[in-house]
Symmetry: C2
């Protein structure tokens, strides 16, 4: 029998993490009688006087959120990372190793209106978000080794406030995922003398099987090694290393790309598509300021949990936690569906 990727289970290798994912396309027929998600329906009011992220509302700690008109950034009231804390004592036991962690956590509102999301915001408003990301990154990257910009969208993805916002957590150290990527990208560069993701972009453009959006500055693909059903990577085609080295044109194009991608996501199952997304680029801070970043390529990662509809998600549980990631539809099938779905007009505007 001939191997057919869309029919026969196999494993695929993620060169960014060194981990494999199990692809089981024949499993898509499985009926689902488990937990159903509450579909997120873009039903917020424009202003909620009890929501501390809305302009002019008092936060639980007594501070007033100003009447902002574009983006608005403030320190998280319950940060996982603080700037000043004593360091744990050194230990010579390999089984009980602790290390210092300093940092800070900021919350960034995308827009004054609660009833907007990136796909329903205007490109100009999305540009303001990108500019604010860069402003924050410029400030924080001077001090911190890793500035993680990320958005948890939707209650399913642990988002605790429906107002459009993201978070920025800065760390005095390189966290696990970036550290792994740093090592793998460096090793690839040492062998091939090219950034891994530049080679990857080139090859995806040739193969054309996993492309979702393509323009002069950006490529969006469902990676060959994707684990979440409709996972995508938004990759710079300009050898950008970090979000703050984007030109005005690249930023503008990025706004259009984000709008298009998130519109496709929303249109796929006609809901406000939940996901966690975030940016990865070359490390920063005093420690990395003089290190080469030649092996890096700026990219964003989108991890959306939905599998079959607005209410049926993929669970990364038992086998996935204990053994390895597992997916049902193939990355090529996911890419095809995202490619085919309209990215220009949001379903609510039809």
């Amino acid at each position: 029998m001939q191997f057919v990727a869309s029919e026969h289970q196999h494993r695929r290798f993620n060169p960014l993490t060194g981990q494999w994912v199990l692809v089981s396309p024949h499993r898509m027929q499985r009926p689902w009688s488990g937990q159903e998600e509450k579909p997120q329906l873009n039903e917020q009011a424009e202003f909620d006087p009890t929501n501390p992220l809305c302009p002019g509302v008092k936060r639980p700690n007594g501070m007033l959120t100003p009447r902002y008109e574009s983006t608005y950034v403030f320190d998280n009231d319950f940060p996982a990372l603080l700037e000043q804390v004593p360091a744990p004592p050194a230990s010579d036991d390999p089984l009980f190793q602790a290390a210092p962690a300093r940092g800070n956590c900021r919350v960034m509102c995308f827009h004054p209106k609660s009833n907007l999301t990136l796909p329903t915001m205007s490109p100009t408003d999305i540009c303001a978000v990108i500019d604010e990301w860069i402003k924050q990154f410029n400030e924080l990257s001077v001090k911190y080794a890793w500035v993680q910009i990320f958005e948890n969208k939707g209650a399913t993805m642990g988002c605790s406030n429906p107002h459009p916002h993201c978070q920025i957590w800065s760390c005095s150290f390189l966290p696990t995922e970036p550290q792994l990527k740093q090592e793998r990208l460096r090793a690839y560069y040492a062998t091939h003398e090219r950034p891994l993701l530049s080679d990857y972009v080139e090859r995806e453009l040739q193969r054309k099987e996993r492309i979702v959006i393509e323009n002069s500055d950006w490529l969006v693909v469902v990676p060959y090694w994707a684990s979440w059903p409709f996972e995508t990577m938004l990759i710079s085609r300009n050898n950008n290393k970090r979000i703050n080295d984007l030109t005005d044109g690249q930023r503008h194009n990025l706004a259009l790309t984000i709008k298009q991608l998130t519109t496709k996501y929303d249109n796929l199952f006609q809901c406000s598509f939940p996901y966690s997304m975030g940016w990865h680029g070359a490390p920063t801070g005093p420690e990395h300021a003089h290190a080469s970043s030649a092996h890096w390529t700026l990219h964003a990662l989108y991890y959306p949990p939905l599998l079959r509809s607005a209410t049926v998600r993929k669970f990364m549980v038992g086998f996935e936690l204990l053994a390895m990631a597992q997916r049902d539809l193939t990355p090529e099938q996911a890419a095809q569906r995202l490619r085919d779905v309209d990215g220009t007009r949001h379903y609510l505007n039809k």
Copy 2:
């Protein structure tokens, strides 16, 4: 200022995976206004004529589930792994690597009654579950490199059928997590000439800070590097390598330990505590039959998502997916709470 682990954020190292977890104890005060879970309340009927896992009910594929009286094992109707599939062609591109995957997926019912769970089953009935695990493992480990026994408990953990059951997925290859562990345990053994987990057990018994349950055969701890709020590890104290080398006495004691641990879990928030759990031991199959397993110690991992109550869970999302695992209460605090809560009487029997 003096470092206090229960107050000051820090990182801890997981020697089994090489990954760090961020511990932010000061964050426990955070109010929660996000998604609430439906608490699982042990409210099943004893028999549901529409549930294909119940004795005597027809499955969607037309097969009849027999009128079983103890455990019952059958092949998953929608398996992620099949025995016979063609292998993907070899590729010389490091960015597009696929590998073969063969295996099988079985479902194992714990008991004929739908309204029981491990903590509410009798020790004799739990012994039958352990014996069936071993019987299955004996059969499958001859052929497969990795036999993953795991239980997804509760809809929150992706369980799609409320009847008490677990799954057994066998793989022709070593999946990511076991592969990582294999390498790390082997490296530790090469340096220290002792299994890492034997050393770990010994030191936890001395330190006494993270012990939940201790008896002559088994130790349950919240590992020093736990990422889920009430994560535990159930570790053999007898240098067992695999689940099928347990003596009768050890099996019996294991049944009591499982009953006690899961009773504690249920009593903690007075609900049927959701979790994913599974067994890890030395690899198997023809490939590993003659390799040394000296570096391994049999253990089970419990990953429960609940954080503060039956309805408020920890989300492993944005920062966790993109950067690193993060936890709020310390492992010591979690262990203390699990130690203090009653493990002998289930809250429903009070």
